[in-house]
């Protein structure tokens, strides 16, 4: 990515999330709260620094995008109102809005469901994993 | 109107009030004038119709100093001024009896006169009158829609609710059908040169008659800095060119944050200078920069000019 592209993406993440990564004081409460911490390669408390340092490439390439459960625990507890959950969601949006960024294809679904799957799960997963 | 008159007479008779501040018939069918009534007999001249635009709250500054209570007829928009006067300790609330009179908008005689010369009689302008008013002229009768000949200020009516009252008489109507700040925005959209020419043209008409100052409820200083201490007629003659040149802008700043936008200044200006354009600009700026504020709405609210927040915008910023 060129410098301009990075800057553009940083701005986009800030805009989509509505959060200010500079407010982060690196307390780690998000990571201390995250139910999916062990699944993630980039940890919640690192989201803000990745954006501040412009390492968007690593962030959008990270598995964390697909591991966040959107349980909002970090959003509720963040003492600085940085809300890491919103930051990673914005990064996910960035990927999904690009062609081919989908994490779930319609064709995959029949294999994934069983008789009990509630509609809500399908809808949510589809919404989360693709544009 | 008869009901209102009777009620006011009753207040005088039963001793609730010692006098009534209202309007009495003028020498024309369309120019009632503010008046103080101290007896039931005098009350025969009392009138309340569509031409009673005058804001009587300012008269209460002196009236409430007198012995006994004074009843005053206030329209919804006048009550804002009255509240502001309470806030500034200018009127004695305990000495006032507020008859909150209904209002369906007030009439602009100049607009009526446009199509009707030689007026002899006008009817249907009462509060409970018809949607059409009849104008008798020496050239024959004409009818006009009440709502077509309202004062400009009534098109940006602040609402039909009285902010303060002891009793309410009659129904009110919110006559607002225009954006309050549309005029201001129009001027703001002009180039600086156009703006300057516009104001220069308007202000050049001023004859320094002081009507705007004298009618303004916010301009009620015991002693105006524009009056010098010279005796009698000389008083109004301005010795300092500074004051004269800057009169209107200084006056607008003087009432900024306190002006309720009652529009009396523009209504009474004999030269038709749209003086409210200054006051309303301040109101618009205050709303935009510091949050919406309506002077006289809440007598406890802090005036924006004697308040601040740490995050206020810097001078010159455009919000």
């Amino acid at each position: 990515m060129t410098k301009q592209e990075i800057e553009k993406k940083v701005e986009l993440i800030k805009e989509i999330s509505g959060c200010d990564p500079y407010k982060c004081m690196k307390c780690g409460k998000c990571s201390g709260s995250c139910p999916s911490f062990n699944e993630m390669d980039v940890k919640p408390h690192q989201f803000a620094s990745y954006i501040i340092n412009g390492d968007i490439e690593s962030l959008v390439g990270s598995q964390s995008l697909w591991k966040c459960l959107t349980c909002l625990a970090c959003i509720e507890r963040c003492p600085r109102n940085v809300q890491p959950g919103k930051l990673i969601d914005a990064a996910r949006q960035l990927v999904e809005r690009e062609r081919g960024g989908d994490h779930l294809l319609a064709d995959d679904i029949p294999e994934l469901i069983d008789d009990d799957v509630p509609q809500q799960l399908l809808v949510s997963a589809y919404r989360r994993y693709r544009r | 109107m008869q009901g209102l008159k009777d009620r006011l007479k009753e207040l005088l008779t039963d001793g609730t009030v010692a006098r009534v501040v209202g309007w009495k018939k003028g020498d024309m069918p369309y120019n009632p004038e503010p008046a103080v009534f101290t007896s039931v007999d005098e009350m025969d001249d009392f009138v309340y119709d569509g031409f009673c635009g005058a804001n009587l709250s300012k008269m209460m500054i002196e009236a409430t100093k007198l012995e006994g209570k004074t009843a005053v007829c206030l329209k919804p928009c006048d009550t804002y001024s009255f509240n502001q006067l309470i806030r500034e300790h200018r009127v004695n609330r305990d000495n006032a009896y507020i008859v909150a009179v209904g209002c369906r908008g007030k009439l602009d005689i100049e607009k009526i006169k446009k199509d009707a010369k030689g007026i002899t009689e006008i009817s249907g302008t009462e509060l409970d009158g018809a949607d059409e008013i009849t104008v008798k002229t020496i050239y024959g009768d004409k009818t006009v829609n009440y709502s077509d000949v309202l004062l400009n200020r009534c098109h940006v009516c602040k609402g039909k609710d009285h902010m303060i009252s002891d009793e309410v008489w009659g129904e009110s109507k919110d006559t607002a059908d225009q954006e309050r700040f549309a005029e201001i925005e129009k001027i703001e959209a002009m180039s600086p040169e156009e703006r300057f020419e516009f104001f220069k043209k308007e202000l050049s008409k001023c004859i320094r008659c002081n009507a705007c100052r004298n009618v303004c409820p916010a301009c009620s200083c015991r002693k105006c800095i524009f009056d010098n201490t010279k005796f009698d007629a000389q008083q109004k003659a301005n010795v300092v060119s500074f004051e004269e040149r800057m009169f209107h802008i200084i006056r607008a700043f003087h009432v900024a944050g306190r002006c309720t936008d009652c529009g009396e200044c523009s209504r009474v200006c004999p030269e038709g200078i749209p003086l409210h354009l200054f006051n309303r600009k301040f109101i618009k700026d205050i709303d935009k920069f510091y949050g919406e504020f309506q002077a006289g709405k809440d007598p406890e609210a802090q005036c924006p000019l004697t308040d601040f927040t740490f995050e206020d915008i810097e001078p010159g910023e455009r919000g």
């Binding site: 697909w66 509630p118 809500q120 997963a125 919404r127 | -």
Partner: protein, 264 residues
């Protein structure tokens, strides 16, 4: 009392119990749930981007429908509750979203968040009152030790949903008490069940649900209640040894009110 009612997709299918019992109980408790005409799916998740409008429109339509009927809007599903309340908050407080949504919808009168959205439990707490509810219970669930599993979507973000204290909620415990049973408070009641990731990777939800069952079971619960079909699914799929039965809260409500037999 009449409420506009937004059932949502799942309650019409996999979670039909949740819906059915709710309606029956409402009747007994003296209020009516009037289903909104031609409601559309809320989307299941709150649209994340501050720049997304289209995905919020279905919620706005439902909200506006309730407004036009002059009714509060009641919902049952945690996800619907979450999405509707958040979109409503946007319509009320975020002028940019509100303006754009209104521009698109071109309603007769713009919608600015006037509708009040209530979770069914909030109706029980704030309108009926748990004391009153307790009086209507004919078949108290005495002796049952019930854990309330809230999950995430019904509680957070606390400031917008204003459902209950997001870290230490009480509403479902009070509800259980009203039904004559004993609530079991356990710390995992507001922790995530694994959510939608169970579709692609069951691992996380297996791990999460085990923690939830271990904790609730450990504190002595013999059953759990939930308001969320997704939680229900994940909990049911759990292979934890400590697993205990899970019910929709409305089913227990129906049981306590004596409305269950006739239908089940």
């Amino acid at each position: 009392m009449k409420y506009s009612y937004y059932p949502g997709c799942t309650l019409k299918n996999k979670a039909a119990d949740l819906d059915l019992y709710a309606r029956k109980c409402a009747e007994i408790l003296g209020f009516e749930l009037e289903e909104i005409n031609e409601w559309q799916c809320c989307g299941g998740v709150y649209p994340l981007g501050s720049d997304e409008i289209a995905t919020k429109l279905s919620s706005v339509r439902a909200l506006n429908d309730a407004k036009e009927h002059g009714q509060d809007l009641v919902t049952l599903c945690s996800a619907c509750h979450h999405v509707l309340k958040r979109v409503n908050d946007d319509m009320k407080n975020v002028s940019d979203i509100s303006d754009r949504a209104n521009n698109y919808l071109a309603l007769d009168e713009p919608y600015r968040g006037e509708t009040k959205v209530l979770h069914f439990l909030e109706v029980l707490r704030d309108v009926i009152g748990f004391d009153e509810l307790a009086k209507k219970v004919t078949n108290p669930l005495t002796g049952k030790k019930i854990g309330a599993y809230y999950g995430c979507l019904v509680l957070r973000p606390g400031k917008i949903l204003e459902f209950d204290d997001p870290e230490n909620p009480k509403i479902m415990e009070d509800f259980i008490r009203a039904l004559g049973a004993e609530p079991v408070v356990f710390p995992y009641r507001n922790e995530c069940c694994g959510a939608y990731t169970s579709l692609k990777e069951g691992g996380i939800s297996q791990e999460r649900t085990k923690l939830i069952f271990d904790s609730s079971n450990g504190f002595g619960a013999d059953m759990l209640i939930t308001a969320c079909p997704l939680c229900m699914y994940n909990l049911n799929k759990s292979e934890a040894d400590s697993k205990i039965p899970v019910y929709y809260f409305t089913e227990l409500l129906a049981e306590a009110l004596g409305a269950k037999e006739g239908n089940s």
